[in-house]
Symmetry: C2
Subunit: 414 residues, 2 copies
């Protein structure tokens, strides 16, 4: 099946928004064995959108549009799809009910233009939007399919996973199975280099690497006549991948490090507290994003100033004076002070120079110390990112700390 992705939105042509929908959909479709041949982006202009849709449909069996499904006047994707596919918009009572309930729940008035969002092509299969007001749909005509999705990624991604993917899979004679392997501590190109013997000449399962901020992800996908066969092929490949890069793998189920650590803490009933300087609360924020974490997450302390480090964690003035706030000694006193104060079994401390300013030749930007304790075990890790980007350094440090905590938990025994 050949596919084109058509993004609709003047904000993309202004460069205000990055077209992450095209990235997400391309990855997903490729995993499903659907070839993506083109990405198109047009503004909120019905004439040009119509032209592009016709062009895309002339080459491809499947065209997916993203965006232009909002309540406002310039949102015209549905109208243009109807025109091109020879259908007309009618009120979809199911969507209308959902829309009315959506506004009722929020106790917000529904404006006239919102009504537009319950209008769907008469022959469409409608996909509910659990995260916004614009439903999606699939419309078929003359062996061609147009799928219309809302633009915001937090609406599009779950709609694709929950509705579009199953709908598309039902039409395929083959079964797809894939797993996403998450690694930390290895770059994407190094990961690919190490896996080259497995990637080269491999047609099924396929292996593809992706880079995220500081993480490299590996997708292993197989398409066979049954799901069982595909699953077996993927699982056999995972075993082989472990032989090459096992030490870097922390999840074979696409779990993020906060999710993974959070789950283990809850399962093992391990209490946790955090003491952060340069990450400024990010570890606490990520951990408390996990639903149910309140059972084990006790306390987070952001000790940005030296005074706060002394007051809150009992770091000695002498240590701060002699070794500085960014030192293994301070990291150790922070994490020991935190455990003493909170009694939490898992404690972590972070102190470092996130940048872009504040570096010196001895203590450059990107020098970070992370202290980890689990019961009596304590270790301080030195991280040198060789990067001057504040956000990157902060994000990477969070993952670095969680990776260490994960290893501590795995190594604690039963």
């Amino acid at each position: 099946m050949k596919c084109a992705i058509v993004a609709v939105g003047t904000e993309l042509l202004f460069g205000h928004t990055v077209n992450t929908d095209a990235v997400f959909l391309s990855q997903q479709l490729n995993l499903m064995g659907i070839d993506v041949l083109y990405h198109y982006t047009v503004g909120d202009n019905p004439g040009r959108l119509s032209e592009i849709l016709k062009l895309a449909l002339s080459d491809c069996d499947l065209v997916i549009t993203t965006g232009g499904t909002g309540p406002t006047q310039d949102d015209l994707t549905k109208e243009v799809i109807c025109e091109v596919m020879g259908d007309a918009l009618v009120e979809d009572s199911h969507s209308m009910e959902r829309l009315i309930r959506h506004f009722e729940r929020r106790q917000r008035p529904m404006t006239e233009n919102n009504l537009k969002q319950a209008m769907m092509p008469s022959k469409a299969v409608v996909f509910d939007n659990d995260n916004g007001t614009a439903p999606g749909f699939a419309l078929e005509s003359n062996g061609k399919i147009v799928i219309c999705l809302p633009g915001p990624p937090n609406e599009l991604n779950p709609m694709f996973e929950d509705s579009v993917k199953p709908w598309l899979m039902n039409r395929s004679s083959e079964a797809l199975y894939y797993r996403t392997i998450r690694t930390f501590g290895i770059g994407e190109s190094m990961l690919e280099t190490k896996l080259l013997p497995l990637i080269d000449g491999q047609t099924d399962p396929t292996l593809a690497t992706y880079a995220k901020m500081g993480e490299a992800t590996l997708r292993i996908a197989s398409k066979r006549s049954t799901e069982e066969e595909a699953r077996k092929a993927v699982e056999d490949m995972i075993k082989r991948v472990y032989e090459y890069v096992g030490d870097y793998i922390y999840s074979t189920d696409d779990e993020s490090l906060p999710e993974l650590v959070g789950r283990k803490l809850i399962e093992k009933n391990l209490t946790m507290s955090t003491a952060e300087s340069c990450t400024g609360g990010m570890i606490a924020a990520r951990m408390t994003d996990i639903s149910g974490i309140s059972a084990v997450f006790e306390r987070g302390i952001v000790t940005y100033s030296n005074g706060a480090k002394m007051d809150e964690l009992g770091v000695s003035g002498e240590t701060l004076e002699r070794y500085g706030a960014v030192s293994p000694q301070t990291a150790e006193e922070m994490v020991r002070g935190l455990q003493k104060k909170t009694g939490s079994r898992v404690c972590v401390s972070v102190t470092g120079i996130a940048g872009p300013g504040g570096g010196t030749p001895e203590k450059p930007v990107g020098l970070i110390y992370v202290g980890v304790m689990l019961d009596e075990r304590m270790e301080v890790f030195e991280l040198r990112t060789n990067n001057t980007k504040r956000q990157w350094n902060r994000n990477y440090t969070v993952l670095f700390a969680l990776d260490k905590i994960n290893r501590f938990i795995d190594e604690m025994g039963e």
Copy 2:
């Protein structure tokens, strides 16, 4: 001048790479008053590239290609451009010299296929590449221009700034000016409804609304013969927009709430501390993302458990018992306790039910109390998001709290 951007590269269609070149070029071109009408992405496939180039040239005066200019066999952008524009590749002696020097300097052997990179269309204006081996070029024919640029952003961006922009500026007669207005507390459709009298029938300046998580953004753009005129038109329109939705506007310069609050704190030398329960450190994390914030940000405390609220902030057991952790009384004691403990002038407390679990009929998911203090002034705000999504509730609460802090700062007088 109407422009299309054509990205060439199969890696984009696999979703391995985000098309940041299109974002960069769109921003730059729009600022220069050049309308970007389309983004196209095609794989390393000469037939499809040729088809897209012809299509783009039929609508646009200017087509910019990115990528496919490397030394390998599948890099065919130049060849296809020549075919479409009726030119032929010839060796460019200037580029050849630079290429030879490039490899000499790096003491790396120049392979046969590198020679290809010094081949340029015979009628092209060549743009040097100071950061790689692929030069760019502009080629004109029959009133149409094709500009060919290398794909890597670290090569493309400086080549655009240093060579392409000056080359294009010499040809343009119009100037564009735009501003991005940020609002909080109003949805996108409500914003548009309120601004309808200004949007309807408006051709210049244009007004466009965009939704971000919990925020609505408004872009006002004008294209006139001079930048001064365009700027005046936009600034006049901003004044009119204030008359309609002024109460929701927090920035007319595309500043985010954390950036705005952080800047004001630093400018006014106001110290800040945070006490967070359901946001779990997110406010501290956002604030400490601001470079230079360490001058004023003192301490963040994540009091997830009741014990932590009592220990760290002196919330009384009786208050927690009688009113519960999620109550205006607890929010007040948290923020007062925080100020007492830290002495920070700006203090904020958050306690609420982020969900998805933990709600009751009286205290549903999405019920959040935010306490704000600035010196003696204290207020507790009740927020009911009517949303059960944990991430959404947490993110929205951060913005809600920062919006209140921003108003407190504005209202404090000098």
